[in-house]
């Protein structure tokens, strides 16, 4: 039922609200910011619906750090299917990196480019795109786990993309820790297997990791990116090893 609303909502909004916003006056940057706020609001509505349906219960910690962040790379672990929806619902200015193949879909392409999302093209083009989007104060959401956490693991091994983008675009990383108490909506279950028990999810915003702490010189980026990725992994492992405080 929730999925139907999500799908229909997505279809309807891309047919109605989003095209209107696209041609609404303003600079390209203003229009992108407007669409991002709209998507955030729609996702907020969706999260409210999920809460009402008893699927998920979201609580936050240090949310102000996330809401006032601009042009940061927002990194999060990825326990469930709805992580990105929850995160974007809490951020008025979120961007993502989206599979390039979706750009070939004529229905989706319009929406994606209006909201300032980035296709995962070749490495150098991707870095250019990220630089440009971050400069416009969009926060880029990246899940370094690459896919949802394997059940039983605290995290999957991190890929180095987020660290590489941070170092090469000189951007700080804002780590967000998603703590869930019951497993559900994971990669190992079908999307329609909704857990019987409500998933309590705490969204805890950490302090930003400054790119300046990592001394990048010409030619050592690959090495430093590995270091930063290790540090990030360590941070998540330390923070996720303890059970969810508020629900203990």
């Amino acid at each position: 039922m929730c999925y139907m609303v999500f799908g229909l909502g997505g279809l309807l909004s891309s047919l109605t609200i989003l095209p209107v916003l696209r041609y609404w006056p303003g600079s390209k940057q203003e229009r992108i910011a407007r669409v991002q706020r709209t998507v955030s609001l729609m996702f907020k509505g969706f999260v409210t619906m999920l809460s009402a349906a008893g699927v998920i219960n979201v609580s936050t910690k240090n949310l102000h750090l996330l809401q006032r962040a601009q042009g940061h790379i927002v990194v999060a672990n990825h326990p469930t299917l709805v992580d990105v929806v929850v995160l974007i619902s809490l951020m008025p200015n979120a961007g993502c990196i989206v599979k390039q193949t979706l750009w070939r879909n004529p229905f989706i392409r319009g929406v994606l480019s209006n909201v300032g999302y980035i296709p995962n093209r070749s490495a150098d083009l991707l870095l250019q795109d990220c630089k440009q989007v971050l400069k416009q104060d969009t926060n880029l959401v990246i899940f370094p786990e690459g896919t949802r956490t394997l059940v039983g693991n605290a995290i999957n091994p991190f890929a180095r993309g987020a660290a590489n983008i941070a170092l090469r675009t000189q951007t700080d990383i804002l780590p967000v820790i998603l703590h869930t108490d019951v497993t559900g909506l994971t990669k190992q279950q079908a999307w329609y297997q909704i857990p019987r028990q409500t998933i309590n999810m705490s969204v805890e915003v950490g302090h930003s990791m400054r790119y300046q702490h990592y001394k990048v010189t010409q030619g050592n980026e690959a090495k430093i990116a590995r270091q930063l990725t290790r540090d990030l992994q360590e941070f998540y492992l330390n923070n996720l090893s303890s059970p969810l405080d508020s629900y203990r």
Binding site: A123, D124, R160, A222, K223, A225, R226
Partner: protein, 82 residues
């Protein structure tokens, strides 16, 4: 840098020094992306390093098909002869 051994030695040095790869893992048939855990950004860096060391321009297309350590050696060898 004429023969394959020298090319391989140069490549190994880069992989160990810049990409923290264990020298023991560097075999001719080792896959760069799976076994040596390079990602697409590393690949761009590797091409830049190889260009600097060989003084030859490497076309991205030529490197698209490169999968293993041996493929890199072949590509560089081809460049040096051309």
């Amino acid at each position: 840098m004429q023969n394959r051994d020298q090319i391989l030695a140069m490549l190994s040095t880069i992989l160990v020094d810049e990409f923290e790869i264990d020298p023991a893992d560097i075999r001719p048939d080792a896959s760069l992306y799976e076994e040596l855990d390079l990602d697409s950004i590393d690949a761009v860096d590797l091409v830049i390093k190889l260009q600097q060391l060989t003084g030859k321009k490497i076309q991205p297309e030529e490197f698209k098909t490169v999968r293993t350590v041996n493929d890199v050696v072949n590509a560089i060898e081809g460049l040096m002869q051309s």
